[in-house]
Amino acid sequence: MESFRADLHIHSLLSPCASLDMTPQAIVTSALERGLQMIAVTDHNTTLHCELTVAIGREAGLPVLRGVEVTSSEEVHSLVILPDGDARVKFQQWLEDHYIRIPYDPLIFGFQPVIDRDENIITEIEHYLTSSINASLDDIGKMAHCCGGLFLPAHIDRPSFSITSQLGFMPEDLEADAVEITGKEINTGFAAVKNSDAHYPDQIGRRYTTYSLEEPTFEELALALGNKNGRHIISVTP
């Protein structure tokens, strides 16, 4: 078993609130410079930059997982990490079926470009990606698991868009694989991880989690979150 440093919450430029410098290439380069050994790309309510980032990561020797940060109808943010490309397509389709398509002004909220390998803009998403989708926190967890994915309520200790702010406390029947924290460790009964929630290149890896795994893959991560077969979380930083 080896230790691997992973940051599983990184926004690309497709997220309206993220820097336009957050191209898939810049994310991979910056993650490697900061010594990360596995990352996930998690834009707001879309997975459309996952495949490009996975491909660039593969060539550069950085395992990239496909993820998304979903906003529930309660306005709670959760990370969903998906096992493979097929699961990503299925989850993306489900997201598109649940969008509330409110037109928005990119000059106020930020641009939402989908780019290609050469960093040309292929398309721009025309509805505001960060707003809630028409599905509850519970629905999102169920769909994540239906796709074989992992479901992690995001930054649960933050004063906005978290379980704590929106719902007051952890729902008793919450079926999370882990929770993401940003500050002091708190006892929730769930495995706790830290990730950067980077919106700018220099934020990548500002928080991360070290896992004990055989290799840096989705399957091994899932075992570690469940503390199974000797895989486990070693530490969270800082």
Partner: protein, 110 residues
């Protein structure tokens, strides 16, 4: 004023929690952030919100809320309805939005 009076005056829907309709309403609180309600709502208040998560009922119970009004035609899920029946906290519904409900109930309480 009782929770019952709100139903008749504002023509509210009763989703669940009929056992609690006799409680006195002494104030009100309008918010969709459950952490905010947990911290700031007073006992005996009617709580106006568009949140329908089951945690709404738990927090209403914790704060001795007299009744919850789900605004703007939002529909609570089955689990929330069951919890409301279990706790005896009236779960009411209206097509009016939170602002309109707040104004009308504020006047009724004056």
């Amino acid at each position: 004023m009782k929770a019952d009076d709100l139903i008749s005056t504002l023509r509210l829907k009763l989703f669940a929690g009929a056992d609690g309709l006799g409680k006195s309403v002494t104030g009100g609180y309008t918010s969709d952030l459950l952490s905010d309600v947990m911290g700031h709502a007073s006992e005996g208040s009617v709580w106006i919100t568009v949140q329908t998560h089951p945690n709404v009922v738990a927090i209403a119970s914790l704060k001795d809320i007299a009744a919850v009004i789900i605004a703007r035609d939002e529909v609570p899920p089955q689990e929330t309805i069951e919890k409301s029946n279990g706790e005896g906290i009236p779960l009411l519904g209206s097509s009016l939005n939170s602002f309109e409900l707040s104004g009308l109930i504020y006047k009724m309480l004056e």
